[in-house]
């Protein structure tokens, strides 16, 4: 804490080795990569091909998108949160502020990833700020997962696949049923046990593919 920060240095460029105030504010309001992000990215990069067109939904810091790009894919990120869009852009990921896959053309992607907000949350505690929104999946934990599954098949190319991070707290069987209702078949491709939950990565593709 030795740097001289002039008052009003709202857009510090990090020349003192620390992120500027605007960047710090973004950090506080954007979900930063954790075990779930890493589990999802590790599972996906094994399966992504050179030049694949990929979309990372709820991209946050852009971590999963950046991992796919390192693996040779073209990656785009999307998030509701304007701070997340900025952070992903700074990480070199083209970002679009949008609601899930709703602003993307049909059959645009080989791979779509989503590390959703999935913690079941009491209604009165919900969505007070962007960080809460990044974590809370509504009363059943599936408030973002269900609409994602309802639209994702539209934006996948015929042989494309969606990778969704789910938790044992989110009732994976209900997730599978919702996917099936949308013509998607799923398989578990990775899992990791934690003290209060098991994290799973599910891969979905079109049933007729």
């Amino acid at each position: 804490m030795s740097g001289e920060q002039s008052a009003g240095d709202e857009t510090g460029d990090g020349s003192d080795g620390k992120p500027g105030l605007a960047a710090q504010r973004d950090m506080e309001q954007v979900y930063q990569p954790a075990e779930d992000s890493k589990l999802l990215a590790d599972a996906v990069v094994e399966r992504v091909g050179e030049g694949d067109r990929t979309l990372d939904v709820g991209t946050g810091s852009g971590y999963v998108a950046a991992r796919m790009r390192e693996a040779g894919a073209e990656a785009v990120g999307t998030d509701l949160n304007p701070h997340a869009c900025r952070q992903a852009t700074e990480a070199g990921i083209p970002a679009v502020r949008a609601d899930l896959t709703g602003a993307f053309d049909a059959e645009s992607f080989d791979v779509v990833t989503f590390n959703p907000p999935y913690l079941p949350t009491e209604p009165e505690k919900e969505w007070d700020d962007w960080m809460e929104r990044a974590l809370s999946g509504g009363e059943d934990g599936r408030a973002a997962i269900d609409p994602f599954l309802d639209d994702v098949a539209r934006v996948l190319r015929p042989t494309g696949a969606a990778y969704l991070l789910v938790s044992s707290l989110t009732d994976p069987d209900a997730v599978r049923e919702r996917a099936a209702a949308n013509g998607l078949v799923g398989e578990e491709v990775a899992s990791e046990s934690h003290p209060f939950e098991t994290l799973l990565v599910m891969r979905f593709e079109r049933a007729e593919a």
């Binding site: 785009v76 509701l80 304007p82 083209p94 970002a95 679009v96 502020r97 602003a103």
Partner: protein, 64 residues
């Protein structure tokens, strides 16, 4: 945003194509401008290089 992003984005309301009107460009990227739906005419802003394609009714509900 790069212009080729237009190949994969659409109007969130009716999924039709968007027409770009760039007011500021830098290094080949669009910094400021608008995207207008060729079907319904809804306009979406591009600010700081990031297109905001939230449906209009979601633009304001979000926390600051």
């Amino acid at each position: 945003m790069k212009e080729d992003l237009l190949d994969i984005v659409c109007c969130p309301l009716d999924k039709h194509d968007l027409e770009l009107d760039a007011t500021e460009r830098e290094d080949g990227e669009i910094v400021t401008g608008t995207l207008t739906c060729t079907e319904c005419g809804e306009t979406y802003p591009i600010e700081d290089g990031i297109p905001n394609l939230l449906p209009p009714d979601m633009r304001d509900e979000a926390p600051a």
